[in-house]
Subunit: 316 residues, 2 copies
């Protein structure tokens, strides 16, 4: 039996899982994320979790394929980390930090969180058995990760799979945080759905800037849509039309086998899935096959931990 | 010394080249493309060219890495060919057809023409030394091929790199041949530049449908732009802004190291290159590095033949 370990470093907690090489989770441990010293405390704690998993399960050195570390920031081809403001880490080489703290020689890989989630779903989730997938995480923002024939598409500037900032609307007048206008994330994220709902309810126009102080969550918009609220239905339809448009670009660039939709907004799969599929088809008329595969993610918030572990199976 | 052979099957001629494994062309032969019998005559002629190259240069079996066949149509993962109306071939398995006609056992691979051109530029042209590139061919249409870490991104439906049909304009009212509206190719191809020039000259608006009977080539529009013709300058600027927008999507999906621009329109590099770069930067504000790499292709119409040969070096 061979094993692998995945560590997911997030803003509130560090999670570490011991897996069989087929993707079965054996044990999961976690601790709070403590910021400071450019991440040194995080690496100390991560190694404690890793060593507990190894010792607690009597994993022999020769049985351990490797350890993957999932970090919430850009990761470049040489393993260098970019800025991770969420956890107070401003660069460095996470794999090297883990390696020099471990009392054994084992290969350590580092991966960006969106890419780790994509790899996790392929390793043990909704994309199991497929080699080329696109994972979309619909949360506060829109994250993306693309796997092409088993390899993560990282990209030269770490921008591979950054589908949240693809421009999908020429007539937007407000700016996105990234400095662009008409980004996919500006409409299809949880925040984007709320924005569209307020605009449509007040002005009837999804592209007319409007905001008010009402505290409302994307879940509430979904509930209202199910109850027949016209503005809520239109907001979700518009948002998913724009997401599908962005995914049509993914099709015409990388053409994955499946689109896997995760994140909080994916819980409203009854409202969003058909709309996303229709929109991808609308924007890719060259492809004759109907029923493009758009499915719901399976691993939830643990996808990154699975993916970090999975790297050790596929890449080593 | 190891050798490889690339065969390019086009609408008017079949070209075959013998190469050293470093991409140096040793000898090139060609013959006219004769349609009929679902491509059987093409395969007969291709094998004659291949055998002439091998015998004429005394290439030993153990020295030949393989043979690549570049076909003008979609090629699926299992080597099956889709429809190639230009050469009257409606499917089949080109690699198998070549193999059974050869009097020796050698590996044969088949590849789509846009992807072959991209691979060729990486093997021995403008992309040499790079692992991840996007090749754009601006001719009658807009073709694309993407190489990610040395592998062609073919895609599940053969749509990988089909950037010509990415939707880049929400306000277009006319339809593209593909059935969509606002396709990249509708503006940035040679035909597209002529369309834009006529629209702008007559109506002042690049999106207002207009056409007339004047026979004019994209080269003429470029000449007029250099002479200061406002409508010609605006047409080319608009076209390249739209191409850059499509390439921003390629950046946010696959993030290649270089964009390589080939095809007839690329001869106007003095007019188009800066505009493409500026547009990619405008639509990818997340990426801080300025001066995105956009360069002119080197291999011209032979790129596909080089790429088909290069497959044998990288994939075998």
């Amino acid at each position: 039996m061979k094993y692998c370990i995945g560590v997911d470093v997030g803003g509130t907690s560090i999670k570490a899982g011991l897996f069989k090489e087929d993707g079965t989770l054996i044990e999961k441990l976690s601790c709070p994320t403590v910021q400071g010293e450019n991440g040194m405390l995080i690496y100390d704690d991560a190694v404690k979790l890793i060593e507990s998993l190894i010792e607690g399960n009597s994993v022999e050195d020769r049985e351990l394929l490797g350890i993957g570390i999932d970090m919430p920031g850009p990761v470049y081809g040489d393993g260098r980390l970019g800025q991770c403001p969420n956890i107070g880490v401003m660069g460095g080489y996470p794999a090297a930090e883990i390696t020099r703290r471990l009392r054994k020689t084992v290969r350590v890989e580092v991966v960006n969180d969106a890419n780790a989630s994509a790899f996790g779903e392929m390793f043990a989730g909704a994309g199991k058995g497929y080699g080329s997938i696109c994972m979309v995480t619909l949360g506060t923002g829109v994250g993306g990760g693309i796997i092409n024939e088993g390899s993560i598409v990282t990209g030269t500037h770490g921008a591979g799979g950054e589908i949240g900032h693809i421009c999908v609307e020429d007539n937007e007048t407000e700016y996105c945080n990234c400095g662009g206008r008409g980004c996919c994330e500006f409409y299809a994220s949880g925040t984007g759905i709320i924005r569209l709902y307020k605009r449509i309810r007040a002005t009837g126009d999804p592209l007319k800037p409007y905001s008010d102080d009402e505290q409302i969550a994307a879940e509430d918009v979904c509930i209202r849509a199910r109850e027949g609220d016209e503005a809520a239905i239109k907001a979700i339809d518009f948002a998913m039309e724009k997401l599908g448009k962005a995914l049509s670009y993914v099709t015409y660039v990388a053409d994955p086998e499946k689109f896997i939709i995760g994140g909080g907004v994916s819980e409203a799969d009854d409202l969003i899935m058909d709309r996303i599929k229709e929109s991808i088809e609308k924007y890719t008329p060259l492809i004759k096959e109907k029923g493009r595969e758009v499915i719901k993610a399976k691993l939830g918030a643990d996808a990154g931990m699975y993916g970090a572990a999975g790297l050790c199976v596929y890449r080593f």
